[in-house]
Amino acid sequence: MNRSTIDLWVGIFVLLGLGAILFLSLKVGNLITTGSRGEGYHIEAAFDNIGGLKVRAPVKAAGVVVGRVESIRLDPKTYEAQVSLNVEKQYQFTKDTIASILTSGLLGEVYVGLDAGGDTQMIADGGRIAKTQSAVVLEKLIGQFMLEKSSSGAAK
C-alpha cells in the first residue's frame, strides 16, 4: 500500500466521520432548524389550548397527512396559541374549514385535523382559519365528570 493511497483512505475516513458527527448534530440533535422546503403554503390558526402539539407534527385531513405544523407561539394579547401550518400546494381548503387538535389513540401523537366545509372560496397563502377546536385536556374532562357526578349525587 503506497503512501498516497493511505493518505486518500485516511482522508475519506476522517471526512466520513466528521460527516457523521455533522449529521448527528444537525439532523438528530437539530442544532440549527432547517427551514421549510418552500413546497407548501401557510395557514394560520389560533387555538385556546394546543395540548401536547409540537412543531413538525402532522396536519391531517380525513386521516391523510397534508402538511406539517411549522411554528407555535403564544399571542401576548389574546393569550391564544398561534399555530402556523405548512400545507402542501396540491391541497386547497375551503374558507370555512375547521381546524381541531386531535390525538391518535389515547397516548398517540398529537396532530392538527382539518375538516373542509362547503364554502366555494379557498384559503389563500397566509390565510387564517376562523373556526378552531382546542385540544381535549383530560384533566378538565375528568374534573367536569366528577362535578356532574357529585351534583347528580346531591340531587338524589
Binding site: M1, R3, I6, D7, W9, V10, I12, F13, V14, L16, G17, L18, A20, I21, F23, L24, S25, K27, V28, G29, N30, L31, K54, V55, R56, A57, P58, V65, R68, S104, G105, L106, L107, G108, E109
Partner: protein, 269 residues
C-alpha cells in the same frame, strides 16, 4: 506441620500475585506517562500516525458500518413491537437515536474496535518485541516509544470517536429503513420527535466524549499489553487475549462511571 506450611504457601502465593498485579499497574501508569511524553516527537512524523489511522480506523470501517446498520434495524423492530402496544410508535426515532447516541454507539463501537484494532496493535507490538525489533531500534538510537507506540496510540484515539459517530449514524439510518420504509411510521414524526428530544449538548457531545474516552482506554491497553508481552509466541497470544478482555471490561466499567456523571440529575425524557 504440613497443614500450616500449606496455608503459609497459599498466603505467599496470593500476596505475590497481588504484589505483581499492583506493580504491573504501576508500570502501566509509568508507561502511559512515557507515551504521552514521547508523543510530540512521534506526532512530528505525522505520516506514521496517518498509517495507523488507516490500519485501525479505515480497516475497521466495514465491521462498524455493517454492525451499526443491523443494530439500528433490530432496535427499530424490537422498539416498534413494544411501543405500538402503548400507541407510541411515533417515538421510535427518539428511542433509537437516544439509545444509539448515548450508549450503544460508543460502547458497541468501542467493543468492536477493541477486538478488531486493539488486538491487532497488541499482536504487532508484541511480535516486534519477540523478534527483537524494538531492541534493534533502541540500538540504532531510534526511540520505539516515539516511533512505534505513540503513532499507534494516537491513531486509535483519533479513529474511535469517528467510528462511534459513524456507527450511530448508520444505526439511525437502519432504524429509518425499518421504521419508516418497512413498517410505515410517518417520516415527519420519526425525525420530528427525534429532533425535539435529542439535545446537542447533553446527548451528542456526551456521546462523543464517551467514545473519545473509550478510544484512550482501548489504545492504551492495546499498546501496553503489546509492549509488556512476554517475548514468546505464547506471550503474544496471551497479551492479545488480555487486550480484548481487559479493554472490553474497562469500556463497560468506564461507561457506567461516565453515565453516572453525565446524566446525574437528568430527568427521564
Amino acid at each position: 506441620m504440613p497443614a500450616a506450611s500449606a496455608i503459609v504457601d497459599g498466603l505467599r502465593r496470593v500476596g505475590g500475585g497481588t504484589r505483581r498485579a499492583i506493580a504491573r499497574m504501576g508500570f502501566a501508569a509509568r508507561f502511559a506517562f512515557a507515551v504521552l511524553m514521547h508523543s510530540p516527537e512521534g506526532l512530528k512524523r505525522i505520516r506514521l500516525t496517518l498509517r495507523e489511522i488507516y490500519f485501525s480506523g479505515v480497516l475497521s470501517l466495514v465491521i462498524i458500518l455493517v454492525s451499526g446498520l443491523f443494530v439500528g434495524m433490530v432496535l427499530a423492530l424490537q422498539g416498534y413491537d413494544v411501543l405500538q402496544r402503548y400507541g407510541a410508535s411515533e417515538s421510535l426515532g427518539v428511542l433509537v437515536s437516544l439509545s444509539l447516541v448515548r450508549e450503544l454507539g460508543p460502547v458497541v463501537a468501542g467493543l468492536l474496535f477493541a477486538s478488531r484494532a486493539g488486538s491487532a496493535i497488541t499482536a504487532e507490538i508484541g511480535l516486534m518485541k519477540a523478534t527483537e525489533q524494538l531492541s534493534a531500534m533502541e540500538m540504532m538510537a531510534v526511540d520505539p516509544l516515539a516511533r512505534v507506540v505513540a503513532p499507534r496510540f494516537w491513531g486509535g484515539v483519533i479513529s474511535m470517536p469517528l467510528l462511534a459517530a459513524l456507527f450511530s449514524t448508520l444505526g439511525i439510518y437502519g432504524a429509518y429503513l425499518v421504521g419508516v420504509r418497512l413498517i410505515g411510521i410517518d417520516a415527519g414524526a420519526f425525525w420530528g420527535n427525534m429532533q425535539s428530544v435529542v439535545d446537542f449538548r447533553r446527548d451528542i457531545v456526551n456521546g462523543i466524549i464517551k467514545s473519545g474516552v473509550f478510544g484512550l482506554i482501548v489504545s492504551l491497553i492495546a499498546v501496553f499489553e503489546g509492549y509488556d508481552a512476554a517475548p514468546t509466541a505464547e506471550g503474544v497470544s496471551g497479551a492479545t487475549t488480555r487486550t480484548v478482555v481487559g479493554s472490553s471490561l474497562a469500556i463497560l466499567a468506564a461507561d457506567f462511571v461516565l453515565t453516572v456523571f453525565m446524566f446525574r440529575g437528568v430527568g427521564v425524557v
